[in-house]
Amino acid sequence: MDLGINVVEMVIYLVGIIAFAAGNAAYLVWVERKGAAHIQRRTGPKEVGPFGLLQPLADGAKLMSKQIIFPDGVDKPLFMIAPLLAMVPAVMIFVTIPFSETIVARDINIGLLMIFAFASVNILALLLGGWASRNKYAVISAARGVSQNVAYEIPMLVITITVVLISGSMNLKEIVATQAGPFWNWNWLPLNGNFLGPITFIMFYICSLAETNRAPFDLGEAESELIAGFHTEYASMGFGLFFMGEYANIVIGAALTTILFLGGWYSPFPDTVPYIGQAGLWWFLIKMYLLIWLVVLIRWTYPRVTLWSLLNLSWKILIPFSLLNLLASAGLVKFLA
């Protein structure tokens, strides 16, 4: 039976993607802890392995050896499904992400659409986890999370449509290909004629922070008010999956920002730093990890916003601006074409 699929390649991608997602999730926790520590002039994990590098493995082993606890009155099926819904879509999304010109598991026409379809499942995990826990804090957190994600999905999608308008494609590889060349050709800088680039980029980055429930928009798990929010009642690997899902989502957010605005795998100086072979992969990863570092830095710099100002930012600033931005970009595309 020929489905046009190379089985060996598929297995390699499958294993690679799961390893990449899980490895990133594990080691971003280390980056986060080390980063937080050094920003606060502490040292962070340093006992397990050199520079505490084995700490994620120790944490993983600890989580896996723990008992799964079902508190009284939880909705058991939903309670068990929720952590899976947090992690599985996150891994799924990696399928369409082009890490370089050649490294992409499934190069499909509607890659961008697929990413947003699966990304919106994340909020379902948050809602189910909060609802099924039978815990006041978890329910409050779920309600907050839903209102936040509804509010930020609108500007995020509008901004994505703006980028699609400029690139004329929903295929992630083609979106990157339209930004070929040095860094002033990329979507985030106005030098290629689209002077709205920086605004679009910043708005997208803010939305991606909010969509991944990261500080300063981490109202879903506001630990100082809601214990741990929707995953208060989770122990063992149920909690572990939520945690890994969160970090996998951060990686996806950064990867998507890289693809849409930072020219994907293209070198910023193609003439001086040539783009040879798999060098594109390294450029992609460098850009992606810089964005992830910014996410970490933001978490340890800004205090958490209130729900009120969080929703205000979306409904009063981001949505009107993104709509105006879409109109203006559409005009620009029409005018420049």
């Binding site: 980063g35 520590a37 050094h38 920003i39 606060q40 002039r41 502490r42 040292t43 910014l294 830095l297 933001i298 340890w300 710099t301 800004y302 600033i317």
Partner: protein, 146 residues
Amino acid sequence: MAGYFTNILSGTKSLLVGLSITQKEFFKKPVTLQYPWESLEMTPLYRGHIQLVKDEESDTHRCISCGMCQRSCPSNCITVKGEKQEGVKGKVLVKYDLDFTKCSLCGQCINSCPTTAIEFSKEYNLASTRKEDYHYDLLKRLKEQK
């Protein structure tokens, strides 16, 4: 309407300033002390449990077994015992016990001592699971210090 835009701009600027501050702090050296491996010198006025002062001249304690400390202690945690020995003038200290479980570190014993034979130690690593570990034999402690 003008306030709306200036608000956004000044807000953005302050956010960037904040980010640059945390990024700068990130590259500075940690200021914390890695406690079990490093520890601070205790300050001169730190009050640990009492101990017998080692006299530099005689190379032993200065206690004359008068029992002033025992009497002044509001918690009754000091037991001093001295006895007459042949050939020695005055009493000789044979026992100086401190029950640190009851001590409130008030320092009355040190104030009352006529020969300044006792002082606060700088001991603070005192965790234990047994009560008996806090019954100190200060005479033995002084001998071990030698």
